[in-house]
Structures are given as C-alpha cells and as structure tokens.
Amino acid sequence: MTGKLILYLQYPFVRYALIVGILIALCSSLLGVTLVLKRFSFIGDGLSHVAFGAIAISTVFNLSDNMIIVLPVTIISAILLLRTGKNAKIKGDATIAMISVASLAFGYLIMNVFSTSSNLTGDVCSTLFGSTSILTLTITEVWLCIILSVTVIITFVLLYNKIFAVTFDENFAKSTGSNTDLYNLIIAVIIAIIIVLAMNLVGSLLISALIIFPALSSMRLFRSFKMVTICSATLSVICAFTGIIISILAGTPVGSTIVAINAAVFIICYLFELIKGGIGI
C-alpha cells in the first residue's frame, strides 16, 4: 500500500492534485462558519448551479479556458444573491432556488442542443459530480489555482476581525462606522471564487458540502470563533488529503470520496458532542 503510494507520488499529476485539492479545501472551509451562521448556506448551492450554467455556455462556444466566463458570471450572481437576500419583497431563499434550478435546467438544455461532444452524459456528470479533471490539471491551471487560493487566504486573514464583527452583528458593526456593505461584497466575491475553484475538485453539486461540513463539524467541538475557524480549516484539509489518496488508490471518484469523508467526520463530531453532553463534562 505505502509502496504504491510512494510510486504514485512520483507522478506530477498526483502531486498537482494534492496541492490543488488541499488549497481548495482550505479556502472553502474558511467562510463556512459565516455562511452557516448568516443562513447563507444555500447561496453556495445556488452559485454552484449558476457556475454549471456558465460552464455549459462556455463549452458550447468552445472556449478553451472556461474560467473567463465562469468566474465573472459567478461573482456577479453572488453579489446579486446577497443583495436580494436582504430584500424583503422576494425572499432570499426563494430567489436562490429559482436561479439555481433555472441555471441547472438551462445549462443542461444548452449542452444537449448545441454540444458536439460524443459523450454528453459523461460531460454533464463530471461537471455535476467532479470529474477526474483534478488528475489532469495542467501546470497553468495549478498556478491559477495557487494564486487565487493564496489571495483568498490573505484576504480572509486581513479581514478576519471585520468578518467576525459583520457576521455577529451587522447593525452594530455599521453603527460603529464599519463599511458593512463593502465587507458583504467582499464575502460574496470570495465565495464566488471559492466555488469556481472547487468545481474542479468536487463538481457543482457537492460544493456546498465542502463549504459547510467542516464548519458544522467544528462547531460541535469548539466554542470560540477562532478555534472553530482553525479547526474547520484543519478538518477540511485532512479530509481532502485522505479523500484524494483513497480515490487514487481505490479508484473511487474524487469529489464523492472527499464529501463522504467530510460527512463521516461530521457524524463523529456530532456523536462526540452527544456523548460529552451525556456524561456532562
């Protein structure tokens, strides 16, 4: 087993997959707590479907690099969704459901009508559930991913205290002069970038899991915002690493394996909390 692993690690594509996978996992876990607490969990879902629609369009136009379309479209949708989230007239979650289902249907329709690919079902399936594309990354894609992830991480660290204040009590933060609209906007843009990145790793249907599971797990274990954030980043990285290794060794799909491990970790944390509460530590 270990021999096989060491052998695999000599291939650059395996090393790329691990680097990219770990970075994506790290980024996606950072904003999890904020999304869960602000009841924004569904935004992740909605945005990933929008990104799916965008990918469908760029496939049809045969764009070699679909980031050019997918990234801006997702960022704009993120901003719009956060805006309407506050609007009382259309309920935030209803809007999100509307947009996400519509882009899913539209994306599939476009792909079906215009696609020249011989393996349509395979294309769709890999966009939804994550393909083996994580194992076929080019060096350019790896660098793009590293640059985006590092940007996300640095932004998060610099804005950590502001994000905390805005998440805990937006009105209070605003009354003390924080530019809450700006921070909400930045949060939205970061989410959009994370989602586009994570499409590579787990596919658009499973992204929410990558964002939310680590946060939910660590909220079972810790009571301070700082520890919850650190713990969810750690859990997420460990799950992604294990998931990629298992999927290479056992030949399972990468995205589903990572999400399955995240779910298992959540159950363990949940049980841990129950037991701890039960015997009253």
């Binding site: 933060a173 003390t176 009571r223």
Partner: protein
C-alpha cells in the same frame, strides 16, 4: 452645544410617515428615556440616530467632539447570535472595530479597553465562556461591554431589560445608572414606565402626541398623565 441635537426630524418607511418634525437634544450626562406605544417608531428613531436608517428629512447634529461612529449601541438580540460560536472576549473586543478603521488587527490599547470594560461590568471571569451558553442577563452585559468599547460619551440601549427576570432587570438598571454617573449620556427605549421615570432625567414620548422635556415636567403634562395611567392600568 449638546452631544446630540435633533432638528425637524421626520421618519418613515417608503410612503408611510411615522414621526414628523421631531426636535430634541441630549446633553452631557443626560439620561433620556424614549417611551411610546408599540410600533410608534422608537426603534426606527434610534436606528436613524445610529446611521442605520436614512431620515425622510431633518438634521442630526453632534457636538462636544462626539463623532457619529462613536456611539455605543445595545441592540435587541438577533437570531444569529443565539447559536453563534464565540467567546465573551471575542465579542467584547469586536466593539473596538470602530477604533480600528482599516487596521486589520487589534492592538494593545484595544485589548486593554476590552479587559477594562469586562471588569467594569463584572464579567471578567466569563471572558473565555461561550456566549450562547450564558443567561439572558449575562448576554446583555456582554453586549453592553461591547457597546462601551465603542464609546466614551453616549450609549443607546434598545429595550435592555426585555426578557430578563426581575433580579437581572434590577442589576441592569443599576449598571446603566452607574455608567450615567460616570458621565456617559444614556438614551434608552423602555416599556417599563415606572423604572424609566425613576432613573431618567429626561423623557421623550413619541406617538400621536409628542413630548420632550425633563422628567418632572412629563409627569405633570397631559401626555404624561394619560400614558402613565394607561400603562399602570394595563
């Protein structure tokens, strides 16, 4: 010049007008209670003072070196906060955000201020506790300590005793009155008319009739007499 001077202020949402041509002042060391029926626009008024809502018309002027972002605010609790994983210290420290501006991290002074306010409200020993596991009264103290990190001059409290038991209510009033004696001006919304009258120096009554003036004048005014009778009867 008073801390706050409100001139011809009108408030409302969309087309609906709530309050028209409101005039009042808050001076150094004042203790102003805002009273009135449910839905009369008390929360809307203080949100406007805090720059969270825009007024329909009128002016809000500050004086005595008070800046609009240096007002401490104790809001009514929101749902998010009920299951928020954060320690008391993290929350109180977040009151220093306004002082930080674009500086990304808290400095020694901020941390010192947070520690001082924890001490002042007698919750230093809770500083590593999880906020969501505290009692209602303790949570209010945490939010009050946070508000104190944001101001040296003026505190605005929106129904600080709502949902507290009699003992915690009593303690809350004592703390606020202690702060007021330390030269911090107080604006408080209260449904508890008897306590409002025993602690406040000034009363602002909003509703069909508007009244602003010292507590003693309020008790003698027609608006005051009527409202007191109604509240005590109910």
């Amino acid at each position: 010049m008073a801390l706050l001077t409100i001139k011809n202020l009108s408030l409302g949402y969309n087309s609906k007008k709530l309050i028209e041509n409101l005039n009042f002042t808050v001076g150094k060391g004042d203790y102003l209670c805002i009273v009135g029926e449910n839905g009369s626009g008390k929360t809307t008024l203080i949100k406007t003072l805090l720059n969270l809502n825009t007024p329909v018309s009128g002016q809000i002027l500050t004086g005595e070196g008070l800046k609009r972002n240096e007002i401490g605010y104790l809001p009514q609790q929101t749902d998010i906060q009920r299951d928020f994983p954060a320690t008391v210290y993290e929350i109180v420290l977040s009151g220093c955000q306004g002082r930080c501006g674009f500086r990304p991290f808290y400095n020694k002074e901020d941390k010192h201020l947070a520690a001082k306010n924890l001490e002042l409200l007698g919750i230093s020993d809770l500083s590593n506790c999880c906020y969501r596991e505290l009692s209602g009264g303790q949570q209010q103290r945490v939010l009050l300590a946070r508000a104190l990190c944001a101001t040296k001059k003026l505190l605005i409290l929106d129904e600080p005793v709502a949902g507290l038991d009699p003992k915690a209510t009593e303690e809350m009033y004592n703390i606020v009155s202690k702060l007021n004696k330390n030269k911090i001006a107080i604006i408080m919304i209260s449904h508890d008319i008897d306590n409002a009258i025993s602690y406040a120096s000034h009363i602002l009554h909003i509703g069909n009739k508007v009244f602003f003036g010292s507590k003693d004048k309020y008790i003698k005014s027609n608006t005051g007499k009527l409202f007191l009778m109604k509240q005590r009867g109910a």
